[in-house]
Amino acid sequence: MNETRFKAMGTDWWVHADLPGLADAAPAAVEAIEACLSRFRPDSSLSRLNRERSVTDPLLAEVTRQAIRIAQLTAGAFDPTLGADLVGLGYDRSFDALGGSVTVVAPPQPRLHLALLGGTVTLDGPGLLDLGGIGKGWAVDHVLQLLLDRGAAEVLVDGGGDIRGAGRAWPVGVGDDLIADAGQHAVATSSTQRRRWRTIDGSWQHHILDPKTRRPASAAIDTATVTAPTAALADALATAVLVDPDGLLPRLAELGATAAVRGLDGQWWTTSDWSTDA
């Protein structure tokens, strides 16, 4: 078989490689990443880090390093240090397990500081590290590279809508009518309309927090699709654009990225360099 489907990281995966059987390596690779980065698994490296405040794990350190870099590039609109705030808002278990109403318990917390030394990540200050805004994209990049390294020429990896391909043009649908070429750039979408839950007081929450308020971001758009050189960057930028669209959208070209966003009235808008001929 040239393709495989599986469930991991709380979403559906689809992987295609042009060499028969090669795509079968993808589930184990993603599982290894989830075992390291999941904040819903008590034995993951990330959970240990959040408990013990310092962990040595090269994979965790690499993803954390990229997360810090993107946080700097986006002037803090992407912020991986809001784990405690998400837990406080009730998102304290995998979304599949999040049923019914939850109680908001945690007040806003002071800043969490991260320190990286080789493969060791250290947390300083209260709060929890959350790599949910970049982990899936990073896993897409990793699986793509793995399959290319093993000899595949044409690959397409779709991790729950974070998509990156290689070897040929891979037209990917965006919104109602737009198209992006995942063979040239990674494509990722975030939305405040997904992963929503109701708190005990009846109010709706979603998983994209504004670092300034530490509450669910409220913007004039509800969905953002970003194309970028890597899926990790596209994934994180799609989140950051929902937090600070006015600040980031005019700057995306500097980061090698483009975006399509949906207004609250359902209409789609793009940065001027979004390619319509993908």
Binding site: P171, V172, D177, S190, I221, D265, S272
Partner: protein, 97 residues
């Protein structure tokens, strides 16, 4: 007998000629009256036009462009999405998950 017949023929010819002359004369009179009426009407119209105030900006201006929220970008740095000219088959769809 022959004279009576000749006279009758002449009388017939005369009556036909008379009827034709009457019809022709009537037509000429009618046309002349129509011409006079038309000339009078056009003179009247010209006089009315001359005394009427000039027409200014008779051509209506185009209606103002309707601006709704959907015509205005909701955020900075974006333009209205242009859909591809041709429909293309896509390999996958990017979606929030």
């Amino acid at each position: 007998m022959t004279t009576d017949r000749h006279t009758r023929d002449q009388l017939t010819t005369l009556s036909v000629v008379t009827v034709c002359a009457l019809v022709l004369g009537g037509s000429i009179l009618l046309i002349a009256r129509n011409d006079a009426a038309r000339r009078q009407a056009s003179e009247l119209a010209a006089a009315r036009e001359a005394s009427a105030p000039p027409v200014v900006a008779a051509r209506p201006r185009p209606p103002a462009r309707v601006t709704t929220a959907s015509n205005r970008a909701p955020v900075r740095g974006v333009v209205k999405a242009r859909t591809p000219k041709r429909r293309k088959r896509v390999a996958r769809r990017s979606r929030a998950s």
